[in-house]
């Protein structure tokens, strides 16, 4: 009853092919946008920004990026952490080399640099697939982390190998560094998430995305009908790495402010983002958000309930958190192998027929 398209007439092709063709959905989307842009910035404090919103938004961008590669183009990648590191170090080098350029553009340039690196590491995908490609991207992960650790130029020869973000402003408001007010970094990341999601959504449903999906479903067949695998695969790697690079730049510049590469962008990060994509739903932009929310918010929520609410010892809570999150991942994947996005789709179908399912 709720998700009915009845009475919702479309009079143009444009209206018919919009992202949210059903009115109810569309208003829901507007409502979320309204809340995110005009309500949340006025009510959040530092804790919410730094522990909940920033990681969620940044991981959502990374998950969107990886979803393009894994979910839409079918190329398994374990190099996400390494590519995030490229974004972060590119951002750091650019921030320190061009202090007068607006950070907004630097983040985008960092994404572009990561895109080039990603395409380079995507080259093996032309010859190998599946698990073998996963291993090749794993090599990228280890190589990139090693590189940023090994070559002092990347961290401007600092004694500790740490990089830390100097203060940068957008319209005179600081968004990086320590002197930020809660809403500024939030808005900055939100704008990037918003733009990334729109770009990704429109790429994936256009001709580029269809080529990716053709490659994913059967690469030989795709080649026969005229999809160039070289262009399709490399563009998927480039676009995916672009978003991952932006996520890395924001992760370093806006969220943490100081990182060391081995700890922040290790193999765990690659797996974390991959899990987000798988749990959220392969080949779905909404799934990227859902997966990021699940894996970022749940541990924080559990910690606050167990330690803050029930007063349990911190180590017990930390161990239980791993158990609960792990168990929930299994439960989710058994109940719905296609992820939270599919659950959402099924729910929508059910709601459409409700309350007369037969």
């Amino acid at each position: 009853m709720i998700y009915r398209e009845a009475g919702d007439f479309k009079t143009s092709y444009q209206a018919d092919s919009q992202t949210f063709p059903i009115k109810f959905d569309r208003y829901g989307y507007y409502l979320v946008l309204f809340a995110a842009f005009l309500v949340v910035p006025f009510v959040i404090d530092d804790y919410w920004v730094n522990s909940v919103f920033l990681p969620f938004l940044i991981y959502a961008i990374a998950a969107i990026g990886l979803n393009i590669l894994v979910g839409y183009c079918g190329q398994v990648s374990l190099g996400t952490g390494g590519f995030m590191a490229v974004g972060a170090y590119a951002c750091y080098k650019l921030m320190t080399a061009f202090p007068d350029v607006n950070i907004f553009f630097l983040v985008i340039v960092s994404g572009a640099i990561t895109a080039v690196v990603g395409a380079l590491f995507g080259l093996p995908s032309l010859r190998i697939k599946g698990f073998y490609l996963a291993v090749a991207t794993l090599a990228a992960q280890f190589f990139l982390v090693w590189l940023f650790n090994r070559v002092p130029w990347f961290y401007n020869y600092s004694a500790s190998g740490q990089i830390s973000a100097p203060e940068r402003t957008v319209f005179g408001v600081p968004v990086t560094g320590a002197e930020t007010s809660a809403w500024a970094p939030y808005m900055f990341c939100l704008v990037f998430v918003f733009l990334s999601a729109i770009v990704a959504r429109n790429l994936t449903r256009g001709s580029v995305g269809r080529k990716w999906m053709a490659i994913r479903d059967m690469d030989i067949a795709a080649e026969i009908i005229g999809v160039d695998p070289l262009k399709a695969k490399l563009s998927a790697f480039a676009v995916s790495s672009f978003f991952v690079g932006i996520a890395g730049a924001l992760f370093f510049g806006v969220y943490l402010g100081a990182i060391e590469v081995g700890e922040a962008f290790g193999i765990d990060k690659s797996f974390l983002v991959l899990f987000m994509v798988i749990i959220g739903g392969l080949g779905s932009i909404f799934g990227s958000f859902a997966g990021a929310a699940f894996l970022v918010l749940l541990p924080v929520l559990l910690k606050n309930t167990l330690v803050g609410g029930l007063g349990w010892p911190t180590d017990l809570a930390a161990h239980l958190e791993l158990v609960i999150v792990g168990a929930l991942i299994i439960v989710f994947l058994v109940a719905e192998p296609h992820g939270i996005a599919q659950l959402w789709r099924v729910t929508k179908q059910k709601l459409r027929l409700w309350p007369f399912p037969h």
Binding site: G161, A178, G262, K303, T314, H319
Partner: protein, 429 residues
């Protein structure tokens, strides 16, 4: 069980009670993950000392201490979450002790912006010693560069002052923490003429076969280690496996606890580690801890770490914090101090032998004095050695000072670079 239940209820009531006037000293601990073996005893020692003060003296200067604990897992993301979560607890957190160099780097700009003092006891950013630049950060009584210099001095003393033909290897945790001593060791190599060999070990450090193979091949005369957590145990085991002479193997103070040497058994006998405080339970304060904390069922964690090296260090950190608070209370003339008053207290902290003896810790640590310019103490340290028979570390040298001639310009250079990068105005003039 009943007792536990009662304490749990009491703890819950205390936690739920409205914030009274109290001193909030958060503990960012890690009792899980690859560094837990070292994180647990430190966190227990830190907590037990404050419990002791609360139980025995009713807090510090009449103000009770509240210590919200937050699990970081040695992970910087969780460290940020913990900082934000504990920062405004009660009347506001007074002092941070993150026990992680990575988290320290992250928090330096944050505590500077929020105006909260941070103490990094023998870890963190070395150049924070320069109080002219780092207003809110303290790293007394000794820092990593002191450690590197003290280790080299020890090797010098063993070789009658000439190590120009020696080869020294540094096995280090490949992170901000492990990289800290490199520059100092390089500069000292120029001064003393030894050859330095760098062997990084990646987080978490369980895989060190290739590094030790290289040590076996190149036979360095001494190995210095900058390790933490599981890396220490693996390194000492590997050293035993290649029959490296243990007395030539020197760890930083973070690589010298019982957890690190015990897995290697008797063969680890003779392993050396640096220290900036003494070991064991042979101090009057342990009677009080037994009486007021352990017997009262209020010991932190499982209560099985009391008297270990890192427990003592956690307790030492808490003791220095408490002494700084006392100093601040005296200076401010009120027991209810603010963060800025605490910082002034830390800047005027002076640890003397009498003071430590009064606290029940005679001969526990070196004497030192903190000033506005010098946030790092005097850089005294000693060398300890593991006695596998007795199962304890023992100091084998007196406390001696690091080579200030080499370190001072390095600290000046690094802190000034930071000041320039971040537009910091120098103070203390």
């Amino acid at each position: 069980m009943k007792l536990k239940l009662i304490t749990a209820t009491a703890a819950a009531i205390m936690a739920a009670a409205p914030a009274m006037a109290e001193l909030v000293l958060p503990s960012l601990s890690y009792r899980t993950g690859p560094y837990a073996a070292n994180g647990i005893p430190f966190a227990d020692g830190y907590a037990d000392y404050f419990t002791l003060l609360n139980e025995r003296d009713g807090g510090i200067g009449g103000e009770t201490i509240r210590m919200p604990e937050c699990e970081t897992g040695y992970n910087t993301e969780k460290g940020v979450e913990c900082y934000e979560a504990t920062r405004s607890e009660g009347d506001g957190a007074l002092l941070y002790e993150p026990l992680s160099t990575g988290i320290t780097y992250q928090l330096i700009p944050k505590v500077t912006a929020d105006g909260i003092p941070m103490h990094t006891l023998g870890y963190g950013r070395t150049s924070a010693k320069n109080g002219k630049v780092f207003k809110w950060v303290f790293n007394y009584p000794a820092n990593y560069w002191d450690g590197a210099s003290i280790a080299i001095t020890h090797i010098l003393n063993e070789n009658d002052g000439d190590i120009s033909d020696k080869k020294i290897a540094l096995v280090y945790h490949n992170s901000a923490y492990g990289k800290e001593p490199i520059r100092t060791l390089e500069n000292l190599a120029e001064k003393h003429g030894y050859e330095l060999m760098l062997l990084p070990v990646d987080h978490p450090g369980q895989e060190q076969k290739s590094q030790w193979l290289q040590i076996r091949r190149e036979r360095p005369d001494n190995v210095i280690m900058w390790g933490w957590g599981v890396m220490n145990q693996v390194a000492i085991q590997e050293a035993v496996n290649i029959r490296y002479p243990m007395e030539n193997f020197i760890g930083i103070w973070w690589s010298g606890s019982e957890n690190d040497v015990k897995p290697a058994g008797k063969k680890a006998d003779g392993y050396k580690a640096l220290a900036f405080h003494n070991f064991g339970t042979d101090y009057p304060i342990y009677d009080d801890i037994q009486e007021y904390v352990v017997d009262a069922g209020k010991a932190a964690g499982a209560g099985d770490q009391i008297g270990t090296v890192l427990y003592n260090r956690g307790m030492y950190a808490a003791m220095l914090a408490a002494e700084a608070i006392k100093t601040a209370q005296e200076m401010a003339g009120t027991s209810k101090i603010t963060r800025a008053q605490l910082r002034d207290g830390m800047e005027n902290l002076e640890m003397t032998e009498e003071k430590m003896a009064d606290l029940g810790l005679p001969n526990f640590g070196p004497e030192f004095k903190v000033t506005c310019e010098n946030h790092g103490g005097n850089g005294y340290g000693a060398v300890s050695q593991w006695d596998a028979e007795a199962g304890e570390f023992e100091l084998i040298t007196d406390y001696y000072q690091s080579d200030q001639e080499v370190l001072a310009p390095l600290i000046e250079e690094d802190s000034m670079a930071y000041a320039e990068e971040n537009d910091i105005e120098l103070r203390c003039d």
